[in-house]
Subunit: 210 residues, 3 copies
């Protein structure tokens, strides 16, 4: 394996773990689900974005679905959330930090994989963002909520920025590892600033009240 | 490009624009969404049906997703809706007309592409209808509503008729352009008659009250 | 055709019929839908799980979508439900039995097809379960309900057991027909015991009240 592909693998697995934890926990807090629901929703949160990306790229079966390491990490993350439940609330600050890390890793690896598959730069940015926010979107739909990514906070925007930096760096021939870390750092920073200062993206003037 | 493929392209882009406008506007009216939500929902309304069709055909990456013209037209349509918001309500009659045009174009182009990909006639009719109503269905699911296509008005039925006429014409070897326009006209007429006279499809006798 | 493939076909078509009936009936009971909604939701319940499986395997167009027999059986099942409506409630015990049969057949055939496509054992078990529960999950999302498979009763678990027995049997080289029937029987038995004795899967301790 090249250094770049090891970096992508490690970032991907780390993102998978935190998204599985976070997705399972969101499900437990929001609706009545049993162990099947917790594990399913945790795994979909963790792997759904990458699976949608691979379907759109046409790389089937999806890479993360074929690779037992992703399945195992996602399953373990969801089971930890099932076992600990709301006791994980005490570390919810950390959960936000971990989730922002997952968002950043997935935006970078998603855009990288799209470019490797030969897609254009705009498509790669979109697929980086889909990789980052797609799993949480599927989870929200399954638990009957309007996906939070559509309505509040800065969530998709940092993912788009991270994916765009990745695409520009690859096109300029910048070294993979440094560019990946820079892109992930930019995404992470915007996400954390948005959380810290409660920044929302612009809304239409005539939107219905929340 | 052949005449037929130019026709398909122009109809497709026109349908994409009106669906993006209409989809973004429906989202603004229905739920609290920010600019990310408006653009996402507008683009999904415009491109979702064609993407589902291409996934089912196995033509990946989806044609409209790979083609920057569709992405640009869909994005611009959604941004216009974001900028103008409910001031577009004044032209809601026109929106209904444009939406019926989009429905008609997509039913015809969807069925045509399915036949070109070698699918059977029944499958081509279904895929024409999915192209026409799929994007709006995905949008309705994302904003937490039961897709209106399942419950009211004549929406899927004119799309099925338009797709069926397209399939029959292609099988009979009728000239592409004339057949496409005839099929689109039939779909458009049934849709507008349904709107004008408030016609609903039959419902089951024991349905719960609305 | 080999004996095994005839068995798979017959089980598949039987499962398709009962799922279409059951899915259309669930839709009629839950929301206001017209004939388009009843037929769409019945067909999605019947064919959605297999289509998701084939997308993930990369066998496109999906086998059941290409095969007119599945489309015809699913459409007929949905139309029967539309025509008879709640008069089918009188046979709701049988509906539960038929649904459990459909679940069992789809778990077995889904896992078998995943193995035939070269996927690993864990993936084949997951795809067997997706084949069995995926259509109902899509239907529940479309009618605005949290999929019941995530929250109550034993539904996914018997499907996982049936798929796992199938995978083990194929790996051990046990004869296809006997193994398929044994696996389906195990799934069916667990499902019916769960219904009879109202058994739920474990839930997280801090789940919100139902």
């Amino acid at each position: 394996m090249t250094t770049a592909s090891v970096v992508v693998l490690v970032l991907d697995l780390a993102g998978t773990l935190v998204f599985a934890l976070n997705g399972a926990l969101t499900a437990i807090r929001s609706v009545r689900v049993d162990i099947v629901g917790v594990v399913t929703l945790g795994m979909i949160t963790a792997m759904g974005g990458g699976i949608v990306r691979d379907v759109l790229i046409g790389r089937l079966p999806p890479a993360t679905f074929s690779d037992w390491r992703y399945l195992a990490v996602a399953g373990v993350g969801a089971l930890i959330a099932f076992a600990l439940g709301r006791r994980l609330d005490r570390i919810s600050l950390s959960i936000n930090v971990f989730d922002a890390l997952g968002l950043s890793f997935f935006a970078v690896t998603g855009a990288t994989k799209a470019l490797e598959a030969g897609l254009g730069p705009v498509q790669a940015v979109i697929l980086g963002a889909i990789t980052a926010v797609g799993g949480g979107t599927l989870r929200d739909v399954l638990i009957g909520q309007v996906p939070s990514v559509l309505s509040s906070g800065l969530y998709a925007i940092p993912a788009v920025v991270g994916a765009a930096i990745t695409v520009v760096a690859v096109r300029l021939g910048v070294d993979g590892l440094a560019a990946a870390l820079l892109a992930a750092l930019a995404c992470f920073t915007i996400r954390m600033l948005g959380l810290r200062f409660d920044i929302d993206a612009p809304t239409p003037r005539d939107a219905p009240p929340s």
